[in-house]
Structures are given as structure tokens and as C-alpha cells.
């Protein structure tokens, strides 16, 4: 809508109360701080058509006013990409000042709720020693508020999370990978759903840093300290550099623990197949970050099957356990962006590989068997039939009892499945449903 306004076309957006701050900040991010909207009292996605029409009738004068009266000039806000502003926190002693800083940063919405390390000049300088790039270099412009991700700002947030210099190039690459999602990154960061980016690191840097790819790699504790601090720093970066503040731009309905920190290394040593980044065309000695959008995680607990078919049936069952509109196969909305990330433990991967199954065979088997019945598949389409792909419209004519007998694939093709190997010994894997245009890979570079 901002593009329409920029093209000289008066435009009004109908926005739900509670999302007006989000709308205003989005408009500013896209360079239109004076963009106006008409506010309806509740989110429209969950109410009846009659109620929606009443809300719009009540807001009609606002709609007309926005389209037919010129706005007052928007206040100009100055912006600088120069050195970071210095803040002075007072305390009775060093410990008291540390606590005061943490209170102030949280009051400013700059923290994740856990204690933050003070980003002093010395600490930030130390962090910056991890890269050859200049502090004022812009790595990328980060969504959702389209803010400049300078090396220095990344380092400041990395210090706050407890990072070390070697982590900074990983975070720089994660930001570049996020840029690879394009405009879909804003969906991931601003949605009412629990989307969280997962950082997966490949290549020699995983061993040099000491990233955990084995037991409890996505869990808490000392063995995952580097995973945790990198993942935490990325979340702080998404908030303070990207502007994805919860309740302001991140409008997640419930939230997810995955949003605090989500970083892992692929277990290349126990991966019987080609590592993920090599499969993507990178050399084995190249270090990369791949960013996956995740919306949920499902435990694939299979300690009983020792043949590929049995193990992969467990994966197929996990992939079938999803809301119908996440299925790439049926809906035009966000078409072809829905995928599955199969995070296989080494045991499950090796059962398949030792039986001669390549990744391609695994994908095809899971795709063939991951199905849901037609009634569940159409659950979303009953309210929005216009979004159902044309090739499936005929399903709307079938009665529910017939649809229940029809098993339909949840994805469009076997290519909609990504496979990585992570974890320790035991037959426990994870499946994540992913979307938003990813995954996206960037090379880790400019390390000192």
C-alpha cells in the first residue's frame, strides 16, 4: 500500500486496533511516516462476515476522511548511521549500575528478558576484533523496520548476548541469509504466528568455534554455550537492529520458546550423506550459515524401526500432523513456500544410508507417504475457497464423508523437504514446518 501512495495514489489501509502501531512503524520503515489508516476494533481474520461488514460501516467516515483530506506534514525524524550513541547509567557501585542498565534496557524493550552483558566500548571493541570489516560497514538492511545492520550494531548486540569475537562473522552471515528471504522475512518477523528463524552452521568453523552438533544441540547447558549465545544475539539483533520488538512489530499471538535462541551446527562427522551446504553447491571447506524459518517442531520418536521404510513412516506421520493451510499443495496464498525441515538424528540417517537410500530417496518416500485426508485438507478452504488452487476446486463439491476417504499429499513435490543431520545417539529426530521463502544460505567470511 505504501508503494501505491508513493506512486501518487491516495490510499487507506483498514487496520485492526492493536495493530495500528505495527502499521505506523511499517509505513515508516518503507519511507512513508505520514501514511494513514482506518481502524476497526478487532482483527478481521477471526470474525464473521456480518461483523466485518458492520466494523467497516462504522469505520466508513475514517476511510473517506483518509482518502479525501490531506495529512498534516509528518514530523521529520533525524537518522544517523554514524557511531553508536553513548548512554550513561548511574549506580552506587559497579554491580548496582549493572542492574540499573538491565532495568533500563528492558524498559526500552531492548532485552529478551534475561540479564544482558553491558555493551561497553571495550567489550564492543573486543567483539569487533573477530572481523576484518569496518565497524560502520553496513552488512545489510534488516527487516521488519528496514534498519541499517552495521558491523558495530551487530557487535553491540552480540556483546549483550554474551558472544565472543569468533561469533561475529556468523551473525553477519545470518543477517545476509535473512536478506535472502526478501520481503517474506517481514512475514516471518511480524506474523501473528510463532515463526522463528533457525541458524544452522556448516563447515570448519563449527569445529573451530566449538558449536554443538551432537547431544542436546538445541538445548540449554554448557555443551551448547556457543549455539545459545549466537542464537540469542541474533534474536537481539532482530529486535534492536531489525525492529522486531514483541507487541510492536512482532505480533505473535502466543509466542514460542524457539524465539529466544535457535542455533545449531550440522553433525557432519556422523552424517552419512553429503553435508547440507555441500548439497547446496558450497565446498566442504567453506563455512556457511543457513537460515530456516520454523513455525513448530515435532518430535519423531522412533526407537523401534530398523528399516528405512519404518523410520521414514514416522517422519511422514510427523509431516502429516499440521494445519491444512500449511500444506503447500492446496493453497495459492504463499504458494510453494511451505516446506519441511527433516532434522534427522545420526541413527535414523544411518539406518537409511546403510540400506542404500540417498537423500533423494528419503525425500521421495516421505513425500509419497505424508498425507492428510481431504476433509482436513480443506478445513481452511471452506472459509476462503477463492484461495484454493484451481486444480483442487473440484474437491469443494465432495461431501465430508467422501473426502475423509481421500488421502492427499501435503506437499507439492519431494523437493519441498530439506534434510539435515543433527543430534546424539538415540532414535529421536525433529521435523519443523518452514515457509516464508527460505531456506537461505550465506557464506561466513571476513573473519580475523
Amino acid at each position: 500500500m505504501i508503494q501505491l501512495e508513493k506512486a501518487g495514489k491516495p490510499t487507506v489501509a483498514i487496520v485492526a486496533a492493536g495493530f495500528d502501531r505495527d502499521a505506523g512503524m511499517s509505513a515508516t520503515a518503507f519511507g512513508m511516516p505520514g501514511f494513514r489508516y482506518a481502524v476497526v476494533p478487532e482483527v478481521l481474520t477471526g470474525v464473521s462476515p456480518d461483523r466485518i461488514r458492520q466494523h467497516v460501516a462504522d469505520a466508513f467516515e475514517q476511510i473517506v476522511a483518509v482518502l479525501t483530506t490531506d495529512a498534516a506534514d509528518a514530523p521529520l525524524v533525524s537518522s544517523t548511521r554514524g557511531s553508536a550513541e553513548r548512554l550513561h547509567i548511574h549506580g552506587s557501585d559497579k554491580y548496582d549500575a549493572f542492574e540499573a542498565m538491565n532495568r533500563q534496557f528492558l524498559d526500552n524493550e531492548w532485552g529478551d528478558g534475561f540479564p544482558l552483558i553491558p555493551p561497553t566500548s571495550d567489550k564492543v571493541e573486543w567483539l569487533l576484533s573477530g572481523t576484518t570489516r569496518s565497524p560502520h560497514d553496513v552488512v545489510t538492511v534488516l527487516p521488519p523496520e528496514l534498519r541499517y545492520a552495521t558491523v558495530e550494531k551487530l557487535a553491540i548486540n552480540a556483546v549483550m548476548a554474551g558472544c565472543e569475537p569468533a561469533h561475529l562473522p556468523v551473525l553477519m552471515a545470518a543477517c545476509e541469509a535473512l536478506a535472502g528471504f526478501g520481503t517474506a522475512a517481514r512475514v516471518m518477523l511480524m506474523s501473528t504466528g510463532p515463526h522463528a528463524p533457525l541458524i544452522m552452521v556448516n563447515g570448519p568453523i563449527t569445529r573451530e568455534i566449538g558449536l554443538n552438533s551432537g547431544r542436546c544441540a538445541l538445548g540449554p547447558g554448557a555443551q551448547s554455550r556457543h549455539n545459545i549465545t549466537i542464537g540469542r544475539a541474533f534474536r537481539l539483533i532482530l529486535m534492536n537492529v531489525g525492529g522486531a520488538y514483541p507487541g510492536r512489530m512482532d505480533m505473535d499471538t502466543i509466542g514460542a520458546a524457539r524465539k529466544f535462541s535457535l542455533c545449531v551446527a550440522e553433525n557432519e562427522a556422523e552424517n552419512p550423506w553429503t553435508p547440507y551446504h555441500v548439497e547446496g553447491g558450497y565446498g566442504p571447506d567453506t563455512s556457511t550459515v543457513t537460515l530456516f524459518e520454523t513455525r513448530d517442531e515435532i518430535d519423531v520418536d522412533d526407537l523401534t524401526n530398523f528399516e528405512p521404510e519404518g523410520v521414514l513412516d514416522s517422519f511422514a506421520a510427523a509431516c502429516s500432523f499440521i494445519p491444512s493451510h500449511y500444506t503447500a499443495n492446496f493453497f495459492d496464498v504463499e504458494r510453494s513456500t511451505h516446506r519441511f525441515l527433516l532434522m534427522m538424528c545420526p541413527e535414523h540417517a544411518n539406518i537409511c544410508a546403510k540400506a542404500g537410500w540417498a537423500k533423494r530417496s528419503v525425500r521421495e518416500y516421505v513425500h509419497h507417504h505424508a498425507r492428510i485426508n481431504g476433509r482436513l485438507a480443506l478445513n481452511w478452504a471452506r472459509m476462503t475457497p477463492e484461495l484454493l488452487r484451481p486444480e483442487w476446486k473440484w474437491l469443494l463439491k465432495w461431501p465430508p464423508w467422501e473426502l475423509e476417504k481421500l488421502m492427499l499429499p501435503v506437499q507439492e513435490s519431494a523437493n519441498d523437504y530439506d534434510i539435515v543431520v543433527v543430534g546424539g545417539p538415540a532414535g529421536k529426530s525433529l521435523v519443523f514446518s518452514t515457509m516464508c521463502g527460505g531456506p537461505s544460505t550465506a557464506v561466513i567470511k571476513d573473519r580475523r
Binding site: 508503494q3 501505491l4 501512495e5 508513493k6 501518487g8 495514489k9 491516495p10 490510499t11 487507506v12 489501509a13 483498514i14 485492526a16 515508516t28 520503515a29 519511507g31 512513508m32 511516516p33 501514511f35 482483527v43 478481521l44 481474520t45 462476515p49 466485518i52 461488514r53 467497516v56 460501516a57 476511510i63 473517506v64 482518502l67 495529512a71 509528518a74 521529520l76 525524524v77 537518522s79 548511521r81 550513541e85 553513548r86 549506580g91 552506587s92 559497579k94 548496582d96 549500575a97 540499573a100 531492548w110 555493551p119 523496520e145 552495521t150 550494531k153 553491540i156 549483550m160 517481514r186 512475514v187 501473528t192 534492536n240 531489525g242 495459492d332 496464498v333 504463499e334 504458494r335 477463492e386
Partner: protein
């Protein structure tokens, strides 16, 4: 008394560096082509149809055109809308 000096973690916004002002408004919607832009979120299309109906009822000579978009909206659809309409009503659903 101890003073702790720290650096702000907040980054500068690109949009503020490249800010534009909203388009000039017409005094009335009479005789205008009104585009209704839907982002494919449930509820949005009902809202737009009602808004279009109310506009057409209040102003003479209004013509309505609906654009069923995506998230984000396809560039070609936006360009088509810019060619075809004078003003727009959009709905995000939330």
C-alpha cells in the same frame, strides 16, 4: 557513585533517510476509479467489498476494481492497479 558507559544497541532506520510524503488527496471520490487491494488474509475481502459498496453508494460515478493479491503483493499487480485506479482501499486482515 559509579557511572557505566554503554553503547546503544538500536540501529538507524533506512526509511527515515528516504522518507516520502503522502499523495495529494481529491476533495471527493465522485467519478473516481477505486481499487480494492486484498492481501489474501481471511476477512480482508469481506471488508473491502463492504467499503467499496459504501463508497459506490455515497459517491456518483465511482467504479470499483478488486485486486486479489498475495503477501507480499506481486509487483505486476501493483503496477496494474496504479495504471487503472485513482485511489485505493487496502486490507491487511489484522
Amino acid at each position: 557513585m559509579y557511572i557505566l558507559e554503554v553503547l546503544s544497541p538500536v540501529a538507524a532506520a533506512q526509511g527515515i533517510d528516504n522518507a516520502s510524503v503522502p499523495a495529494r488527496r481529491p476533495s471527493s471520490l465522485e467519478g473516481l476509479k477505486v481499487g480494492l487491494v486484498w492481501n489474501a488474509k481471511r476477512g480482508g475481502l469481506d471488508a473491502l467489498r463492504k467499503a467499496g459498496e459504501l463508497i459506490a453508494h455515497k459517491y456518483r460515478g465511482v467504479s470499483l476494481r478488486t485486486y486479489e493479491g498475495t503477501q507480499p503483493c506481486r509487483q505486476e499487480l501493483l503496477e496494474q492497479g496504479i495504471r487503472e485506479c485513482d485511489v485505493f482501499v487496502g486490507s491487511t486482515g489484522d
